[in-house]
Amino acid sequence: MPDIGGADLFVLAFGDILHYFTPYTATLFLLALLFTGLVIVARPEGQIDIAFGGDAYYAKQTTVPEMRFRRFMAIACGLASMGAMASGDLFNFTLFVSLVGITNVGIVAAVKSRHVLNAAYEYGIVAMVATLPLFGGAALVLGTTGTLSVPALAAGGYAVPLVAKILLGLGVVGEGMAPFYAAKAEMFRAPGAPYVIMCSLSSLLIFLRVVEIVITI
């Protein structure tokens, strides 16, 4: 099996449930940690819309309760992505990924604007439907090999069905859809820059991680 993550830097084992870092996952983990720190200290942007055909402009304000909720969701999103980076258990990984999906919806849905809520609702339905391939893939791996531990699967001797890998990838694409959904600009029209960036970053991180897992197992 190809080992693209590099040698283990750290392993914490609870029975067969492992938490481990390779240079690859450690880099991604540090990136998530850095951005979570930035989200904690950053203040929301004050977005300005220019009225077309004149020199008037709207200055959008983010209220304090909304800012608090979105910051909380962004921090939770950062923690969930960190968990997905550090976990060596396939099912725990899928749980963290679906948590990323929920918090991404939460970050966007706090904005009380009809366009943004519509987009968040559609995105939420996709995220919810994506739990089917996500958990289905993990359950298929468990059903055919009898283990969920990524290092054990990587050590070889197990035949992981291709359809399980495809389902896993599909599920992560559905949960962390933000980068694939960039055309849906309504979602990102919401004011409050640092929090929306967390959506894209966490989606990117879980996607990079699932690629590593699918290639390794």
Partner: protein, 199 residues
């Protein structure tokens, strides 16, 4: 004869296909939300098909994730459509005044006999039914306190398993009754949800 696991997978994939097809055809927002629940059930079926103790343990987080996504989405839907009016009084039917105490007592009694997680679910069902049909004055703090303390007892039982394994019987009893109270308290909160100021 076809082995059970591939057959089950086939049925689950077929159900998923039907659910996705329905989701593709449906355009109404609320109906699509309900259909995602159909997909969620198939997800649990995928996990349940493995049929081991581990699969049983994995169903619970899968269910929790599904339920929390459903709650978050329905909240978004409610705000999106501007439904803010709290529901009015419950149905005023005579049977809803006389039947609930008997049925709830039966269910709670049977739940206590069962104990543990399934007992909590059965007893919780009784309490939900009682609260739903009786419209009681809500005392969330009491339910929450009971739930919190029973959770601590549950954790204490787990530490007993790990540190003092010779007292395993005590720990089993403690965990069984604590999870009973915990699940029952959590479920009974559903029965008191009426969109009022406390909800």
């Amino acid at each position: 004869m076809i082995p059970a696991y591939p057959l089950g997978l086939l049925v689950a994939f077929a159900s998923a296909g039907i659910a996705f097809f329905a989701l593709m055809r449906e355009t109404d927002g609320l109906h699509r939300l309900l259909l995602t629940d159909l997909v969620e059930v198939v997800t649990l079926a995928f996990i349940a098909l493995v049929g081991t103790d581990l699969a049983e343990a994995l169903i619970l987080p899968g269910l929790v994730v599904g339920v929390s996504e459903l709650i978050a989405l329905s909240e978004i839907f409610r705000i999106k459509e501007g439904y803010t009016r709290p529901p009015t009084d419950t149905l005023q039917i005579e049977v809803m005044k006389t039947a609930p105490p008997i049925l709830a007592a039966l269910l709670v009694g049977y739940g206590i006999v069962l104990s543990g997680f399934s007992g909590g679910a059965v007893a919780g069902l009784g309490v939900i039914f009682y609260f739903l049909s009786r419209n009681p004055s809500e005392r969330f703090e009491v339910i929450e306190t009971a739930s919190g303390y029973s959770w601590i007892l549950w954790i204490v039982a787990f530490f007993t398993f790990m540190i003092l394994p010779q007292y395993w019987f005590f720990a089993v009893m403690l965990a069984g009754s604590a999870i009973l109270v915990k699940v029952m308290a959590k479920m009974s909160l559903i029965g008191t949800m009426r969109g009022g100021p406390n909800a």
